[in-house]
Symmetry: C2
Subunit: 109 residues, 2 copies
Amino acid sequence: MKVSKYLDTKPIQEMPGVVKREVINADDGAPNYCMRVFEVDPGSSTPYHTHAWEHEVFVLDGRGVAVSEQGETSIARDSVVFVPPDEPHCFKNNGEEILRFICVIPFVD
Amino acid sequence: MKVSKYLDTKPIQEMPGVVKREVINADDGAPNYCMRVFEVDPGSSTPYHTHAWEHEVFVLDGRGVAVSEQGETSIARDSVVFVPPDEPHCFKNNGEEILRFICVIPFVD
């Protein structure tokens, strides 16, 4: 068993305004999927993109919208978002605090 | 894309003091793993058990301990726990508020 605090995990910044931490990944021995925590600054967004695997998301703090081809849906603390494989999506922070959420993805070959 | 609030998911109570919600499961189209949210009352615990699949856990609220054969490790908001396959474990609430955590498990045949 490995117990940690998510802030102990090294932050990865691949674009302005978005920080990712891989809090449980293959290095921990995880065999099937990776748990990440994202922090999106007010006014920022994850990229609008699509891929062949799903997202399972739980919102920890802040306010924003989950965007798909059907439009925007408000999200906040305790929101749950399932993004099926091959569905375009992004997460935008339209609030005044950091939008923080968990996003679990499968390991892909 | 499916967006919901976790409290909209039907609670399942399989033992006293522990409520589970399967906030993303196969019925939603999830192909690989299930996201659940647990609420453990003060003084209660999930069962000490073992199984052939992993847990990926994120603590949302409350205080408690993650128990393994190595002993007890304190957990609280923002704690991350990885339980490898076949490792005995449970989660005890030794605080005064509800212990609430996300637990992701793979679908097993």
